[in-house]
Amino acid sequence: MISTLTLAAADVSFPVLTSLILIPILGALVVALLPGGDRAEITKLVATMASVITAGIAFWVLWEFNIDDSGFQFTESANWIEGMGISWDLGIDGISLFLVVLTAVLFPLAILAVDPHHDHTPYYAWILVLEAGVMGVFLTLDLFFFFVFFEVVLVPMYFLIGKWGHGNRQYAAMKFFIYTMAGSAMMLIGILATAFLTASATGNDLTFNLIELAEGQALAQNTARWIFVAFAVAFSVKVPLFPVHTWLPDAHTEAPTAGSVILAGVMLKLGTYGFLRFGLYLFPEASVYFAPVMMTLGVIGIIYGAIAATMQKDLKRLVAYSSIAHLGFIVLGTFALNTEGIEGGILQMVNHGISTGALFLLVGMIYERRHTRMISELGGLQKAAPYMAGVFTVVMLSSIGLPGLNGFPGEFLTLLGAFNANRWFAIVAASGVILAALYLLWAYQRVFHGPAEGENAEMADLRPAEWATMLPLLALIVFMGIYPKPVLERMEPAVDALVEHIEDKVPGFTEPVANVRTADDAEKHGDDDDHSEDGDEGDHE
């Protein structure tokens, strides 16, 4: 459209980011208010259109995004409650850009791929509300609204699991809701404490603006650490990290396929994204202080998730546990606190969304046909459904992290970052990669190989509509595996700025980078004028 105005794109008057939130909400309203009862086709059409338009806008944002700008772009600001310093601040930077795009891609696919079988109207309405909420979390720059969106996504997901889920769905929905709400309860205290204590320390007006609070850093060291813990509790539940992960297997397993795709694809990222924005950016000192703890939890998640996944009898539960392992990688990379680790973490967030989303879709397709997810009841599916087996293989290999597919660059960068920060973490985490190969290959073997008996022998292969949902994901898997540069170069300025922010605000902290630099690395850091010279790095504990 107005691609010539690349630089001016940031100040076009059309509220692009707001529309990313509002269009799904409008779609939900249209779906909910459509007259004439439960009409599956029309509601699905409206829902698809709303999510496709949202995706279109997201791609436009991606197209217009200024690669060289490390700050927030497309910013919008409007007062909401002046007395409390709460405003509708939106912005997007290299960290949130790809999460927004991921959200915009996964929702239409999830809507198209799976039919709810009953109560179509509320189903599509809730999915669209969910999309709006997730977009809001990634776009907002105001702590109050972050909390609002972070909480509001619980409601649609609660209904998706509770009403359209399988088996023990009410228990799973309840557990999911209570767990997350209890976690974010602490975050609300943290947000309020941040705002009020900052206001009283600086004497300025009360503000919930993320940038002002993060650049100001007015809190005392000990206070900031306490508040960081409050935030970390909420994010750890959402990620989920090891001791508070037990809601995830239940929720993922009992959720309907679309719910699982969205839950794994984007909702878990709310936690890891939260760690980046509200951990590292808002509380740099506390992040440095707690980094060893967080990395340990990440590594525990990797190993524990992998071992637990190996033991599962239910294919969907296996994928759910594999999520815990993958999210462990993301946390590990994030708290490595160097460019490689954080970039790897973000890349991994996107990759996990694509490949685990695709895995859940495939498991859903198997369940639709066979009405079981028990690995023991499946077998030899590749004879009846060779194409599905092929697609499953690619997706699975991407999840394992095979070079050439999208899982590899993320995992590699994460491990590199972790190695530079503390090599022992990286060494233990690397064994998680091997375990991933173990549980996924073993599951694949049991499900697709072997003799096909009974219904397994007559299972239908991928239908055209299913191809249509899988092909975009396969394309992304291959593209990002072979050529991740367009993604990396867009996130790099923001990540560099974040690392510099931490170095800037935390006395005595320097980015943990490798002692021996490759030529590529030196070139990359040559652009930055300040920290390329301070050669002595050490562990930051």
């Binding site: 929905a173 309020l192 009020f196």
Partner: protein, 528 residues
Amino acid sequence: MSLVSLLAQVDVIEFDTPSVDWVILTPLLILSVGSLLMLMFASLLRNLGSTIFSLVTALIGFATAGMAVWLWWVRFEGGDAATSTLAGAISFDGFGLFLTVVIALAVALSALLADDYLSREDLDQGPELYVLLMLSGAGGIIMAMSNDLIVLFLGLEILSIAVYILAAMHVRRIQSLEAGMKYFVLGAFSSAFFLYGIALIYGATGSTNLIDIKNFLAGSVLTDDALLLAGFAMLLVGLAFKVAAVPFHFWTPDVYEGAPTPVVAYMASGVKVAGFAAIIRVFVLTFDQYRLDWQPVIYVLAVLSLLVGSFLAIVQTNVKRMLAYSSVSHAGFILVGVQAATDRGTAAVLFYLAAYTFMVIGSFGVLTVAGGKGDSSHTLDDYKGLSDRSPFLAFALMIFLFAQAGVPLTTGFFAKFAVISAAIDARSFWLGVIAMVAAAVAAFLYLRVIVAMFFSSDHDDDLVPAEGVADDAEADAPGKIDVPPGATIAITLCLLATVVFGVWPGPIDDFARDAIPRLVAEATALGN
């Protein structure tokens, strides 16, 4: 005093009655005179139906609220015009007006709910319920505007005595009579405590007027404040009973369960609002200097209410009892705002009270309709599949319950946000943490009801509840519920208020923030 001076001045007759600013009193007068007129007309015109009374009551309620808003508009838009009248016994400030609006709306909405209830339960012989409702509301407004402990007590009694009768209104239900009796006996006790507290305060300070008390305490150091502190305790007992704060909450579940549901809607909103109005006026405002003495007590009451309310709520199986315990937990939340004892805290309490009024009247409004004839189908099982029987009721109750749980984009969220902000601002971090834990616990309870309403109509192979089968056998449509017009209006209004001000809380928040209670002596000094 004036009598003595009158006798002394024989030739010049100068009798100074307290000046009365009638304009200030208009909201109160509309409500109380309206109720008396209704009583009169009802006895003159015998064949008036309940619907007329209900509509007139709602109109009077809305008129009262509208009058208060108008007064705010003409007196306060230009600046703070707080004053007092009737010899300093009634204060005129934003705080009083704000709560007048809230209480009047509670009266109007409850009256709309009552219409169909009365005809359904065959109780629609006369206007008693509406008259008592309005009188009780008038008492609440007096409490919100009072500037004198005696006036406060008058308001409290006008409010309470009407509610004692209202609780026992369903004469054919033994539980309703029990509720009325229980509420009356315990309420009378608490009123006695309150009155004794006034006496002790009078003994300690020499006045019942809040302005005089405050001035006295500001100007003198008490060598022995035992009398004063005992007075605090007594007053607090009386008021904590009205707002159902733990440990003075024991009546709540029984009375809420037994009393007619529209009356419960009013008890949970109007009565609680008036009680908190008094707590703010007396403690936060008048005994400001002694906050170090009473704040810890409020702190403890808040913690107990939050925890006891939330934890006992989740083990209930009767939805009315659940909401009774949840109202205890809400009282705890509001006390969190009181405990801050700051302007921010007061504004938060006001916002909470306004938001809570709509949430709770809406909730009990749905219960009124869903309870069915006899007002007794309130177990969790009775709410199973409500979404099929009445999508509107189920959707409305879902929104109200999410609001009570504090889910964002409802007023309930911003209310909780405001009180916890006030607590954090006052550095009561742990109180905030406890409140949020209680909120998470309480969420479980609300979800249980939502689960029952939405998730129990099973679509796949799960077992269908036996009673559902029986219903289907009887009629093809499983017992659709017709929502009567009065209830529809009331529930829709509550729904709109909860959602619209949840998304856009600015207007109410501004109103609450400007509505700071004031103790201002009368502008025109009394004759000396």
